[in-house]
Symmetry: C2
Subunit: 155 residues, 2 copies
DNA sequence: GTCGGTGCAAATGCTTTGCATTGAT
DNA sequence: ATCAATGCAAAGCATTTGCACCGAC
C-alpha cells in the first residue's frame, strides 16, 4: 500500500489506494470527463483488498462492516467503470452472481474452484495462450482473450 | 434419428429422440421414480437439434415455432433433470443467460465465442486436460472438470 | 385414489435505471 | 449556475416456486 499521490476528498481519511491502479482509474475517468469520487476510491481500495476474486455484494458488506455507506447502485456503476478501464474483468464462475478479478497489467487469470469448499483461487497455465491462439487461427479468427475455470475437489 | 423404443403419449406424434440420450434420460428418471413425459421428450429432442450450445429460451421458441406448447417452468425443470442425468452441462458464456452444451459421453467441450457475430462454437484443445490436472496436483486438489471460453474477433 | 407433472402467475434475487437531491468547480 | 454522482426505490430479467388441475397407473 502506497499513499495516494493526491488527497482524496475529506470524508474518507483512512483509504489509501495502491498507486498504479488508482492512477489508471483516475486517468480513465478524466478521459471520460468524470470524477474520482470518495465512493469510487473506497470501492477500488476495497476490491484490491478482497484478493483474487470478488463479487459486488462482498464490496458492499466489506464497506458496511467498516462503517462506510455506499449504495448498491454506486457499486454496480463503479464496477462497470472499472471494467471499462481494464482494471477488473468479469468472470462467470456460477450462475448466481457475477464474479470479478483484478485484470490490469496481468495475464488472463485462470481460476481454480474448489467444489468442496467453494474457495476460488487464481492459477497460471502459461502454455494455454499459445494453444488458444493456434485453435483460433485454425478457425480463422483472432483470439482476444479467454477464461478458464477448473473445478476440483479435495485430494 | 432412431424411433423411440416405447411409444410417446399421443399428443406428440412427430418427435423421435436420438436413442442413446433418450435411454440415458429414461434410466435416470426411472431411478428417481419419475416419468418420461411428452414434454420431457420434446425438450430433449429439441436441444439435440439445437446443435452445440443452446439457451433455455431457444428451446421454448423452437417448440413454439413448431406449434408445441410447453411452459417455461417445465423447460427449466427439465433442464435441471438433464443436468443431473449428465446429459447436458451448464456453461456460462455471458452474464445474461445460462447456456448449455450436450455433455453425455463427451470430453469437456471448450467454447469459442466470436465477439463480432455472437456465434458460439465448440473447439477441442486436447492438451488442456493434462495441463489442468498438473496444476491441480500442484495445488493439492483433484481436477473434476473445466470450462474454457475463448473470445475472438474476425480475422 | 394416489403421485407426480404441468401451466400459470407470483416470487426471488441480481442488476439496472429513473429521479430528486447533493456536491464540486 | 452547471454538470455529474449519489441514494433510494422501482423496474427488469432470467430463473424458481406455490398451487390448483390433470393424467397415468
Amino acid at each position: 500500500m502506497i499513499p495516494m499521490t493526491s488527497p482524496p476528498p475529506p470524508p474518507i481519511p483512512a483509504f489509501q489506494i495502491t498507486q498504479p491502479l488508482c492512477a489508471v482509474f483516475r486517468r480513465h475517468l478524466k478521459e471520460l470527463g468524470q470524477k474520482y469520487t470518495p465512493e469510487r476510491a473506497m470501492i477500488l481500495d476495497t476490491l484490491i483488498e478482497l484478493d483474487d476474486v470478488f463479487q459486488a455484494d462482498q464490496i458492499l458488506s466489506t464497506l458496511q462492516d467498516s462503517g462506510y455507506r455506499v449504495s448498491k447502485a454506486t457499486i454496480y456503476r463503479t464496477i462497470k467503470l472499472l471494467q471499462d478501464a481494464g482494471i477488473i474483468q468479469q468472470v462467470l464462475v456460477d450462475a448466481e452472481q457475477a464474479h470479478y478479478v483484478l485484470a490490469y497489467g496481468r495475464q488472463p487469470r485462470d481460476l481454480l474452484v474448489n467444489a468442496d469448499t467453494g474457495e476460488i483461487t487464481t492459477i497460471e497455465i502459461p502454455e494455454l495462450a499459445a494453444l488458444r491462439d493456434k485453435v483460433c487461427a485454425q478457425h480463422g479468427v483472432k483470439a482476444q482473450g479467454h477464461r478458464l475455470i477448473v473445478y476440483a475437489t479435495n485430494s
